[in-house]
């Protein structure tokens, strides 16, 4: 599929923000809630049943330890300190003997899914959560691993999943970006890149270290020109750009820039209120917690309710979950606020009736080894790790797949990153093999040439 915007489409898109939103409502009336209004997205494959409309990706940069959170391994005690040949896998750094988790696991929910004491809030909503214990990738290093997690490729040039989703489905709210990334500092790179997709589908990063919307979106409000004057300026700019394109041909990057400026203009009228989580009842804010990740999760809920298609929430601080040493102490310090905010997000979405149409995805670029590093840490483990998905037509209350006895390798019902991406797109109503973009002479996909839908975890 190639992207080419006609002049008429351009005028419709940039000039008719509210009109387009209105049109979306009209199409909904005509075709019912399951139908997607044409023209808002570029997905041209078969219309699959739409189980979810939004994605909130909770990204734990660095590789969170599945063995200490979601994947208990009793056998590690029997072989503690040893290094049987079955775990003698090549790791990024020097590793020692097997290191059992000292954390307590208990069974939760209707099916008794085992969750660590580190995650009491997530444990309390486990019936909404599908824990996938058999994730695997093929790269043990952060940068390519991160790229694979977010873009489906280890290469540093491919579009992120948020870009693919917003390209495929468009936005539900013309006054906001379709793809937002929240963190402290604001996420960038693989987490927001649009790659060869039109630049309007790039994720817009916002810093959430301070909940003050003036700090989240500095300089959004034009303090010099009133809206009418700004509109006149933008119209003049649009006319000049169109004149340029008439003379030199269409330029998708210029089109993307125009649309970004239009989005920024329109954001003035909605975003400040929307981004102000201080307008939430104190009880709700307390539930998420007074932390940057809490702010990110609460803001993510507000954004998807306002129609943002894809929100990536990165746990603050960069590669924070990269616990090569002191993992027990680190997890005890770091898990509580992550657990509180992630648990609150799922609970809050459920309470508001939004969880059914929102996919909440949790994970990192890989997991961590069952063997020790530095005596008290764990190295990167792409061979087998855990992610979870809540809402959006996933079963919930189950643990799917398994690593082998010692927790190093995914063994039963293995799920690759491409499989997960394919399954998420499926729930969004798209066939992952048909969401394509022609670039450099061939069609590209989020799932490259791989990806199987994991039907067993779908309701």
């Amino acid at each position: 599929m190639s992207y080419k915007l006609s002049r008429r489409q351009m005028i419709e898109a940039v000039g008719g923000g509210l009109g387009v939103v209105g049109m979306a409502g009209m199409w909904s009336d005509v075709f019912g809630a399951e139908a997607r209004p044409p023209g808002l997205g570029h997905y041209a494959g078969p219309a699959l049943p739409v189980k979810a409309k939004h994605v909130i990706m909770l990204y734990l940069n660095g590789g969170p330890s599945q063995i200490d959170m979601f994947d208990p391994k009793p056998a590690l005690f029997k072989y503690a300190g040893q290094r049987p040949s079955s775990v003698d896998l090549r790791t990024e750094r020097t590793t020692g003997g097997l290191l059992p988790s000292p954390f307590e696991f208990k069974r939760y929910g209707r099916n008794g899914v085992e969750v660590s004491e580190l995650l009491p809030q997530l444990a309390s909503v486990i019936d909404e959560v599908t824990v996938i214990r058999s994730m695997y990738t093929f790269n043990p290093t952060h940068t390519p691993g991160r790229a694979l997690f977010h873009t489906g490729s280890v290469l540093a040039t491919r579009p992120s999943m948020g870009s693919w989703v917003s390209y495929g489905l468009g936005t539900e709210n013309q006054n906001l970006p379709a793809f937002v990334a929240l963190g402290a500092p604001p996420p960038s790179g693989q987490q927001t890149r649009s790659g060869f997709l039109p630049s309007e589908y790039q994720g817009v990063g916002f810093g959430v270290a301070d909940p003050d919307p003036e700090k989240i979106i500095p300089n959004l409000r034009n303090k010099i020109l009133d809206p009418a004057s700004q509109r006149a300026d933008l119209d003049a700019l649009l006319a000049m750009n169109q004149s340029h394109e008439k003379a030199f041909g269409q330029d998708q990057y210029l089109d993307g820039r125009i649309k970004s400026m239009e989005t920024a203009y329109r954001m003035q009228f909605e975003a400040m209120d929307l981004f102000d989580i201080r307008k939430e009842p104190q009880k709700i804010r307390d539930e998420y917690g007074p932390t940057a990740f809490g702010t990110g999760c609460l803001l993510a809920r507000r954004l998807v309710e306002a129609g943002v298609r894809y929100v990536n929430v990165e746990y603050p601080g960069g590669q924070t979950w990269d616990d090569h040493s002191n993992i027990n102490d680190n997890l005890r310090k770091r898990c509580p606020d992550m657990d509180q905010a992630a648990g609150a997000l799922i609970r809050d979405l459920k309470r508001r009736g939004k969880l059914d149409e929102t996919l909440v995805v949790w994970g990192g670029e890989f997991g961590r080894t069952p063997v020790s590093e530095s005596g008290n840490g764990r190295d990167h483990n792409p061979y087998g790790f855990t992610m979870f998905v809540a809402g959006g037509g996933f079963k919930g209350g189950i643990a799917y797949g398994a690593t082998e006895e010692l927790g190093f390798r995914a063994e039963q019902n293995r799920v690759s990153m491409h499989d997960l991406h394919a399954t998420l797109l499926h729930q969004l109503g798209m066939d992952h093999t048909k969401l394509t973009y022609r670039y450099a002479g061939r069609d590209f996909r989020l799932t490259d040439v791989a990806g199987e839908i994991v039907k067993d975890i779908l309701a």
């Binding site: 005690f77 003698d88 590793t95 020692g96 000292p102 005596g375 008290n376």
Partner: protein
């Protein structure tokens, strides 16, 4: 009057500290570096090391930690050695060597040569020589202590304890009024560790108890066997056996 109050508080603190130290004491018996090789074996290892390892790890075993040598090998002595191999069994070091070393000629030495080099590395890290040579089997049994040397019952030691089984408000299983944990034999049919009859004064969190029918034994006096787990200053037990000794647990 104020001075008396201060003294009382100080005395109370000292008493609490003394009780805490007393409670922690059973877990602080020495488990120092144990003899795992002979002096002759380490001497053989020294020669094998010189022939195969010094190019990267240097004669002083300090490798890349040596600021003047530009060596690429990981340091095999000092804090880095403890960091890499502390709280691991000797087999972790042996397996790593046999799998990856010498650089570019991995696995080219005999098993005996690798064991000799491991012995030499341990000797250079101040491990005492003993009467028995290091073997592959012995390497899987002997621990390399962590930073500062592990004290008391080592982490993951198989232990037994006796006390009252109780579930706390968060549904965690606890062994309360427990006697001191004792090292036990994990072999099936081994003679159980003997305990006195009276209640103890320790409390241990029990991991994995839900897999051993804990619910019907709630409130019973139980014998617990499993692996000792340290988390900070706390000692836990990862349960492998849980048996009722008495259906009541006194008061």
């Amino acid at each position: 009057m104020r001075n008396i109050s201060v003294w009382c508080v100080a005395l109370l603190c000292a008493s609490v500290a003394a009780v805490a130290a007393q409670q922690a004491e059973p877990a602080r018996r020495s488990a120092a570096k144990v003899p795992a090789f002979t002096a002759a074996q380490a001497d053989r290892g020294k020669q094998a090391y010189a022939d195969n390892c010094t190019g990267c790890h240097l004669a002083g075993l300090d490798g890349s930690a040596n600021p003047t040598a530009n060596a690429k090998g990981t340091p095999l002595t000092g804090p880095r050695f403890v960091q890499d191999y502390g709280e691991s069994k000797i087999s972790a070091l042996f397996n790593k060597m046999q799998r990856d070393m010498p650089n570019g000629k991995a696995g080219s030495l005999t098993e005996q040569q690798y064991l000799d080099i491991v012995s030499y590395v341990l000797q250079q890290n101040k491990y005492p020589a003993g009467p028995n040579e290091l073997t592959v089997d012995a390497a899987t049994d002997i621990w390399i202590p962590g930073a500062g040397g592990a004290e008391g019952l080592a982490n993951y030691t198989y232990v037994s304890g006796i006390g009252c089984l109780q579930q706390d408000p968060t549904r965690s299983w606890m062994l309360i009024k427990a006697q001191e944990l004792k090292k036990a034999d994990a072999t099936a049919g081994a003679t159980p560790v003997a305990f006195s009859d009276g209640p103890g004064e320790y409390t241990f969190r029990l991991l994995n108890a839900y897999n051993y029918s804990a619910d019907p034994q709630n409130g019973h006096k139980v014998r617990v066997s499993g692996y000792l787990v340290r988390l900070g200053a706390e000692i836990r037990v990862f349960v492998q056996q849980l048996q009722t000794v008495n259906a009541s647990c006194g008061n």
